[in-house]
């Protein structure tokens, strides 16, 4: 987190439901709009957080009512920082098959993690694989 001053911060724990996830994403997207994000950068953040949220709630917590997702969002003048921590067993993002391999191209798996990696400036997972931290620096031409 290189930005010393964040314009907007959201920290909350949400239940493992996609409805709750989307309500939280909407808060982020509304704040991004308010701080002047649009175009490709806005789309990239929207895509990354959507995929990460679905991963945390569906694949991590398996939509269990006993589990929650810790959400942390920060918007600065030049970047957005997002972290999701689920209560699942975690996964190894490097062990997923490459969805762009010719033999996997028509398989419906692995695209979310790949899109997050491609669209964010930096992405990191903790060792257990139940926490993803994403940072997007705004492009200068947007």
């Amino acid at each position: 987190m290189s930005e010393p001053q964040w314009n907007w911060v959201l920290e909350e724990s949400i239940p493992s439901s996609l409805d709750a996830g989307h309500r939280t994403i909407d808060q982020l997207l509304n704040a991004l709009t308010q701080w002047g994000w649009d175009g490709r950068d806005f789309f990239h953040v929207q895509m990354a957080i959507e995929e990460a949220m679905v991963n945390a709630i569906k694949h991590g917590n398996k939509e269990s009512p006993d589990k929650s997702v810790a959400v942390s969002f920060r918007i600065g003048g030049n970047s957005v920082w997002m972290q999701l921590t689920d209560q699942g067993d975690g996964f190894n993002p490097n062990a997923l098959p490459d969805p762009t391999d010719e033999e996997h191209l028509d398989q419906p798996h692995g695209r979310g993690v790949m899109l997050i990696r491609e669209l964010m400036t930096t992405v990191a997972y903790n060792e257990r694989g139940n926490q993803v931290t994403m940072h997007k620096v705004r492009s200068s031409d947007d």
């Binding site: 679905v54 191209l105 028509d106 398989q107 419906p108 695209r111 899109l115």
Partner: protein, 119 residues
């Protein structure tokens, strides 16, 4: 083609042009419904030439992409052809990154898409 809530299908000659109701294809229940409706165009309505027009669609998640991949498989299995058109640049970028632009034939406009069937 009554009873479809997520898509609108209109036949232009032999081509069924599909448009999407949702600007953001993101809600999982809606994606499931959209998938079933898309599959029925190929499987129930037996349409062989299907053009998906994404004009007006601002966002779609990888769960929605997966439905398109399954639809492509079903269309091919039925001896049909599926093409896409009207993708905004940000969504086109998603297809390019994931190399799905090699799975689907993607045209700029609806007219280009219809013409590409060569009927």
């Amino acid at each position: 083609m009554a009873g479809k809530r997520r898509i609108v299908v209109s036949d232009i000659g032999e081509v069924s042009v599909v448009r999407f109701i949702d600007r953001k294809i993101v809600d999982s229940a809606n994606i499931e419904e959209m998938g079933e409706e898309l599959f029925s165009v190929v499987e129930k309505d037996k349409r062989r030439f299907v053009l998906l027009n994404f004009d007006g669609v601002e966002f779609l998640s990888s769960a929605a992409l997966n439905k398109l991949i399954l639809l492509d498989r079903k269309a091919k299995a039925a001896g049909g052809k599926l093409k896409l058109c009207g993708l905004r640049p940000e969504i086109m970028e998603v297809f390019t990154i994931t190399r799905l632009d090699r799975v689907f034939q993607i045209k700029k406009t609806e007219a280009d898409g219809i013409e590409a069937f060569g009927l």
